[in-house]
Symmetry: C3
Subunit: 480 residues, 3 copies
């Protein structure tokens, strides 16, 4: 029988403090204010309203709400794990965004002359995006890990995330406004891979008595669901190009989500006993439309296109919760506490492929010359080509691209789906093996899904049998 | 004794899926991107910051929060109906906004040349507004209806809503920035009319044991209340004209709400046992100021004017909850679960009349030439009139109006109050008769205000007597 | 034994109604729309996007959420005082913002020609800021006061607040973008002084059985925490200068908060039994970074500077909760229900001093000429000086300042820390003596931390022993 070293002192504080000090030092060495943030640039004195702040900050705040309230409360549905859900989510996200600023800075916009990273509005949004992937993975392992494991997972996962993002942005040069591929698909399969490695027969032999909700925990979870649902248009449009691209991304997401919600209700009622609704479906599958429309949110898919994508993803996601999740656990030994495979995994693939199709069918007829702004890879790579000259007379600041055809761009988009899958599963397996050691303090089988392992827990109303964790026999064997 | 066909399968999924597919087809035929959303218009390439997105999106998101979190959680106060409150609210709103895009598009901005509806930022806000009316009506029938009835009510109510809105906007040409008349008054009386038709003596003979709150359900409801309260300035200013009109609408609403809240506390303490406060009053009457200032929010009513309106509406609303609601049920057989009559009905009338008065006293002395922007109907209808020429030298883009006097405009405003009442009550009665048939699956008397009729409900803390609905004797008689 | 006059009727309604009517009259006499809100100014007709509304409204709404949801729910952690926490917070804030408009108007931007106060976007934000100080003080006396006392405290505290703010803004001319000194430090020590005067041996002899949380009340409190945490960047940047100053204030706060959260988790685990986490620390100390970076948020402290400030304040704040709060109560007879000393007091001092240091080291080398915009007191006071001429060629609208050196400005900043402390403690002591009389209806010792004193309270799940307050023997002696 395994011995679980669940006492977090001094492991957790030491690791957290060391991590934070390292981050501080790296910020001191590398990170400086970007153009729009630096007093010396005197952007105040010219046209202040052109500061990126006014184009992006409202969207950023919405994304911030999704990360901290949305993901945090969505996971509070477990009856005895709400402190951990919202608390560890808080820790992971706040720590992760600092680490993400560094990683994304080094990989995507490192100023090699001054050896600095300049952080601005987009940097903040992208850092939040990066933590979203970790929080998705957290959903797969929810209730089965220690806060220390989660901190380490954050450090490792963000490295793989940044590498995959680098491939998407700088190598394959794909469009992925809402991150269907680089955030959702990646986060889901990474978490599932970690969960696979850490699978324990003892834990998953029967349904764990604490792996379920109570009435009010489901209501807290709905706070998370609804904030995610409402602000997803901001998520998908937060880093889209200014103007119509950003507006289109918001609108397509708005419509896709509405359709996905109706589909989730319908399929939930269709598949449940006596046509009743299942809160798990409503809490999760209603959001699938936001994931699935992510890659093509800023493309000209038309309002009805957004509804088609939302409708299909909502329906498929609900079916996944009903039929696929139990199979994954019993057949493939992949236990997925929050069902991230149904909310982020499958809709992420669907989103990546929808983006590939939408890109492949993009044309000047539909986009006008804006085609070359939405897809800069379609700009010819030679300045002497007639098309480039035509573009140059339209906009002086146009730069040579890759000269891809829309179909080629579609191919690259599809390739990124595959690469994201490989990076996620590979990274997740490596991370899982690393985290498997009991030194990291994961809870024993009976103590999973239980806050009192890592939190001082007050009495609960109508929940007399709150066990104080100090009495647990395994703890006395903890001798770090 | 009536037989209740409460089993929702396959009625609910089939109807929901058919509705959604019909909406998809209609979107495919009719709905296209508006100017600021369409890549081909190349608004990106000129001044992106003039895109409507940047003027309206933050307000839109606030409205969105009011619709989904605000209304959704405000209704969670019932002890055993929180899943349904927040869940059905979610369904109605997400379905309703799609239907509203179509209805409002056909009636208000149908491009008869291309046979298309162009949807942009205002279209999204107006669609949310339309669903607000349905959600208000939902408050009147809360706990007594099936999700299927609510879906059908949404379809029908939005038709009446759009017709009434058409009269207000295009026929009478009244101002109603925050929708006191077309949203709040309409939604309240529509819901009350439906509730009247569906009145059941068996249900309302005595106070239903489940028609009350528990400690934490009241707290969840406060989440709804406070988000409504905070973001109401955005609601009333969301579609006001750019610049000072929008700012004024926000400020007047901010002040009106503050005064209405103080009045609600004072009158609640004055009328309750030993001066204690009643959560129902605080949850609802504190919001009356937002409703009552809606029509005149963008007019020059002055800060003190806003406070007067807020103060009166908060006081009247609290008195309504205390004395009027019980009378409505016992004397007029109108049962109003959430008290929408006090929060939206009376304050809506008050708001409509305040708007009529404010319009009747509008003058060039107070507004300057902006008078003719806030009230375009006051612009002369003949281009040869001296006033029109004066306006034309000021702004080249001024267009002939109706040549009304302020007093006439006030009269039209007052007329719209009456018309909204008639449309709401008429529409509600028709809808109520249609929905009365038990085939729609409304709950039996004892099963009202109970989530387990339509939801898989987990155990509740300290709520041992959770009845599983499958054991209910009436269910076996369900034989659709 | 003291007799407690806890019956609120007619005391509370009469006082509230009189206050509101007085405010209405004063608004009628003094308050008018500001430039950007007034129709007559016709700002609509020129460049509407330059209306202050579009620069400030999203930030304002975030601040609004912090005031009403953030502070309101943060204090719901007590097991039987959630109605009062969120409800009285609601009342204080809504009443207080109206009073603040008047006080701040008279003191800071009174138009002595027309004898009017012009209210605009900044006025609304500043009014919300002023109520924040009162809500912080509320945290110190939470559970031990009647709503009537809180109303009166609001009236008095805001006077002292406005005086102190006047000294900071107009006399010492210090920078305090996020209000570390004038809001947080002031609110905390004011509340502590009130709490000191009202200290009761009977109440604080032993730990009160109701002065603790239950499982779900801690979750409600996390809603408050997280909304405060997320929107603090908007709080600190809401009234910063347009452009890079505003952006910098947001970014520095974002980073400081992230570091402070990691520190709070680490120190909480380090100091608690078996390395467990304490919800009180997470709920509060994670926010200390927002307070501590407040004064220097818009200065060029660099990203790593923000992280240093956040990290230190998060760690110190957690240690304060663990070791200082019990000492304050037992040794100094200062009972601090919410621990505002640790969240707002110490971090406020830290913030004031950080601001002094940052100002003292400010230089043209780092800020460029923007130095004289961020610190207008550094502009020479004589137009003939060479520096002034140089500035004038750069910006025609530059105005003579105080000709301070950065070191002098740092000295003034430090002086303001001291003055805020004196004003807060002095004002708090005066207010406390005034409120000490039992006529104001404070609860008896056993009735502290109990909603049913001032609210109609429904049954609670699993909380059978709800006492109806009418049965309380002391009440019958209430004979107002």
């Amino acid at each position: 029988m395994a011995i679980y070293h669940t006492k977090m002192n001094p492991k957790l504080p030491v690791v957290a403090l060391v991590f934070e000090v390292v981050i501080l030092i790296l910020f001191g060495i590398f990170v400086r204010y970007d153009h729009d943030v630096d007093a010396k640039e005197q952007t105040n004195t010219t046209e202040a309203q052109k500061n990126e702040f006014y184009f992006r900050y409202p969207s950023f705040q919405d994304v911030h709400v999704m990360i901290f309230i949305g993901f945090g409360f969505l996971m509070t549905f477990l009856k005895r794990y709400s402190f951990s859900s919202v608390g560890f989510n808080f820790l992971i996200a706040a720590f992760g965004l600092q680490w993400a600023v560094l990683l994304q800075g080094w990989l995507h916009h490192f100023d090699s002359k001054t050896l600095t990273i300049h952080i601005g509005m987009e940097g903040m949004i992208n850092a939040d995006f990066c933590t979203a992937a970790v929080l998705i993975s957290f959903g797969a392992v929810l209730g089965k890990t220690s806060p220390l494991q989660l901190l380490v997972m954050t450090v490792l996962e963000e490295v793989f995330f940044a590498l995959n993002e680098h491939i998407a942005v700088s190598v394959l040069k794909v469009n992925d406004a809402g991150g269907s591929m680089v955030i959702h698909l990646f986060g889901a399969y990474f978490g599932l891979a970690v969960s696979r490695v850490m699978f324990r027969d003892g834990l998953h032999g029967a349904t764990h008595e604490k792996e379920g909700s109570v009435y009010h925990s489901d209501l807290f979870a709905m706070i998370g669901t609804i904030f995610l649902w409402m602000f997803w248009p901001s998520f998908n449009s937060a880093i889209a190009a200014h103007g119509d691209d950003q507006m289109r991304a918001a609108m397509n997401t708005y419509l896709s989500l509405a359709a996905s919600l109706v589909a989730a209700f319908a399929i939930s009622s269709l598949t449940c006993r006596e046509g009743k609704l299942d809160m798990v479906h409503i809490q999760n599958a209603s959001l699938a439309g936001g994931v699935a429309v992510g890659t093509c949110a800023d493309m000209m898919i038309n309002p009805y296109g957004a509804i088609v994508i939302g409708f299909c993803s909502g329906a498929i996601s609900t079916l996944g919760f009903k039929y696929l999740t139990p199979l994954l656990a019993s057949k493939l030994k992949v236990h997925d506490t929050c069902g991230v495979h149904n909310l982020h995994g499958i809709p992420g693939i669907l989103g990546g492929l929808s983006g590939a199709i939408a890109a492949a069918f993009a044309s000047e007829e539909v986009y006008g010359l804006s085609l070359y702004l939405t897809f800069p890879t379609l700009v010819p790579n030679e300045e002497s080509s007639p098309l480039f000259k035509r573009l140059h007379t339209w906009r002086k600041d146009i730069e040579p691209g890759q000269g891809r055809s829309p179909a080629e761009q579609g191919g690259y988009q599809a390739l990124q789906v595959l690469i994201s899958l490989i990076m996620a599963i590979g990274g997740g397996l490596i991370t899982g093996f690393f985290l498997k050691h009991t030194w990291w303090g994961q809870p024993s089988d009976v103590d999973c899904f239980e806050d009192s392992m890592y939190w001082e827990v007050p009495e609960a109303e109508g929940f007399e049998e709150v066990k104080t964790e100090g009495e647990h026999p395994l703890d006395s064997q903890d001798e770090l």
